[in-house]
């Protein structure tokens, strides 16, 4: 989940991530996707957050993982990185009993495009230009250490004009996500630790959003303790100066991974942002993406136990 950065003072790469997120990440909340996965045998959406349909766990892990091919759940866990593997691995193993990678990947593409067409219309203003600018950026990116980006890159680009835009946007989103994982791994953090630090970074209560990632109470408590022993969290479970600095450094390194793409965009930044902004607002207004992003899931997470979440992911 890219950090939310609406301020125009934020680095261009971070603003780009925030503007792309609803337009691309809507795939995970698309009723058309959920229906497509139900046709393959997955369960329907388990419920709503702020009027937005949440994905079935196994369908989510299997569909997003399928961009890499028919891979073991362990690889999906490594690539998604922030989820408890005990939720991911059985979900993917189960998913492959229902479908195969090309089939669910096609359902993913179709459902994402269908929701965008429903919410934005068949020919949203500026579509060709956005695709052109996205492509200019993705052409600069290479796969080293970026498994989800590499998988998406190998899929090719849909013929449908909305699908083409969506694919390039997803490439940018996953490239940033893969780069972010590398940045926090290189900072010596594990999945629980980065989850906790990210909550504070986003201004969320600690141990709220991370519950949607299926960690147990004990695992979260142990993570807090490790961060405290490293001097990154205080006894009050708030950032120390060192903790805030480390988390910001991770985000800056993530931004820096997009330097080539941002350079390729050049002076067309504001034009692109001007086109994407209204699309994102329309997608959110239509219930295609969480109004507040991580905040909505955090509110939901804080009302559920990790066991509930694991159960939801398994069921």
């Amino acid at each position: 989940m890219p950090a939310i950065a609406s301020s125009t003072d934020a680095p261009v790469a971070r603003r780009l991530a925030a503007l792309i997120e609803p337009v691309v990440g809507q795939v995970y909340f698309s009723p058309e996707c959920h229906e497509g996965y139900v046709r393959l045998g997955f369960n329907p959406s388990p419920g709503f957050a702020g009027g937005v349909a949440l994905p079935d766990g196994p369908a989510y892990f299997t569909s997003r993982g399928s961009v890499m091919g028919q891979v073991p759940g362990e690889l999906v866990a490594s690539a998604f990185a922030v989820f408890n593997p005990t939720a991911v691995v059985p979900s993917v193993t189960y998913g492959w009993t229902l479908t195969d990678a090309p089939t669910i990947c096609a359902a993913r593409d179709a459902g994402a495009v269908a929701q965008l067409r429903r919410l934005l219309g068949a020919a949203p203003a500026g579509l060709t230009r956005v695709t052109e600018l996205f492509t200019r950026m993705t052409d600069t990116l290479t796969p080293e250490g970026r498994p989800l980006f590499a998988g998406l890159r190998s899929l090719g680009v849909p013929d449908d004009p909305i699908g083409a835009m969506w694919r390039h946007g997803d490439l940018l989103r996953e490239y940033r996500g893969d780069s972010h994982t590398a940045a926090w791994v290189a900072a010596g953090l594990d999945a629980v630790e980065i989850g906790l630090l990210t909550e504070l970074f986003l201004g969320l209560p600690i141990k709220s959003y991370i519950r949607t990632r299926a960690w147990s109470e004990d695992q979260l408590a142990a993570g807090v303790e490790r961060l405290q022993s490293r001097g990154l969290l205080g006894e009050d479970e708030r950032f120390t100066d060192a903790g805030r600095a480390l988390r910001e450094e991770v985000e800056l390194r993530t931004d820096a991974a997009l330097d080539r793409a941002v350079a390729a965009l050049g002076t067309d930044v504001e034009e692109l942002f001007g086109l994407l902004g209204p699309w994102g607002r329309t997608v959110r207004a239509g219930g295609g993406y969480l109004a507040g992003g991580a905040d909505d899931l955090a509110r939901r997470g804080s009302g559920m136990t990790a066991d509930d979440e694991q159960g939801a992911a398994r069921d």
Binding site: Q70, P143, P147, A150, A182, W184, V185, A186
Partner: protein, 287 residues
């Protein structure tokens, strides 16, 4: 299990790296493994990319390139396509394991004393490590265990090796390096002749020229393509970030570390002596 100081972690992580490398890396130089790939009509490169990448599943070549990190995708992708077309991941995983075990059996004997204990300690380390951001480690973890003394020793060494390798890719990508740059810096770090090793990773002279130019712009190498003082610090920081990513492994091995190294070291030396691995890593790496 306890908390290791940074200094101890750094030293142990590097000594463990040097000790497991010849034992698991032997598979890349084993005639028995090459013969297995050749049965499917695969020459060295398709055999290498296919057999090492097979733990990921039948993934596109670009995903193998992402996991291997330093190779030019232009040589990875066609090799993987060929490996899947002629053999497929399951057949190559099997040939890889058979070749590794046959070669180690020839060099070390079928049941070297202490092998089960070494496996137990390495496995304790691997079991303590997470999957996050580590493609090859995760792929290996999905395979289960060969179930023979040498097979399990080999797998446990490979797990520890690939975990470190995956962490290392995260470290150099997060440090803003591109593959050709990371590869040119390995040559400097290991005091190898310039360009020779990097060429084997599929990079052209032009790509290496551009890599050196970029490293100069960053102040990492000087006009003669040698490390600047800041460049040495930069590369050491990448290696330390890699070491730090192995904390969970090393802390789980804990106080049994010296016992483990005493077991692994003679085997590693025997593999090198039998020309089953090209160089004793201790003679080129930096502790």
């Amino acid at each position: 299990m306890g908390t290791l100081s940074d200094a101890v972690l750094r030293e142990r992580a590097r000594r463990l790296r040097d000790a497991v490398e010849p034992i698991c890396g032997n598979v890349y130089f084993a005639p028995e493994a090459q013969a297995g790939y050749a049965e499917y009509g695969l020459s060295w490169w398709p055999g290498y990319f296919g057999s090492r990448g097979a733990c990921l599943g039948r993934v596109p070549g670009a995903v193998v390139a992402s996991a291997f990190g330093v190779f030019n995708p232009a040589i990875v992708v066609p090799a993987v396509d060929e490996a899947w077309a002629k053999a497929g991941p399951a057949a190559l995983l099997s040939a890889r394991e058979r070749g590794a075990v046959a070669s180690l059996t020839r060099i070390l004997g079928a049941d070297p004393p202490g092998a089960e204990r070494a496996t137990e300690l390495l496995r304790r380390g691997a079991d303590a490590a997470g999957f996050e951001g580590r493609s090859l480690f995760a792929g290996l973890r999905s395979l289960g265990w060969p179930g023979t003394v040498l097979g399990d020793l080999w797998r446990s060494c490979d797990l520890v090796r690939e975990h470190r390798g995956d962490t290392h890719i995260a470290a150099w990508t997060a440090a803003g390096l591109f593959p050709v740059e990371a590869q040119l810096l390995i040559e400097l770090w290991w005091r190898m002749p310039a360009r020779v090793y990097t060429r084997t990773r599929g990079w052209s002279e032009e790509a290496m020229d551009e890599g050196y130019t970029s490293l100069k712009d960053k102040g990492i190498v000087d006009a003669s393509n040698e490390f600047t003082p800041a460049g040495v610090s930069f590369r050491e920081a990448v290696e330390w970030a890699t070491d730090a990513g192995e904390r969970s492994v090393l802390e789980a091995i804990g106080d049994d570390f010296d016992e483990l190294l005493e077991l692994l070291t003679p085997w590693a030396e025997a593999v090198v002596a039998a020309k089953g691995y090209p160089t004793d890593p201790r003679t080129v790496t930096r502790i």
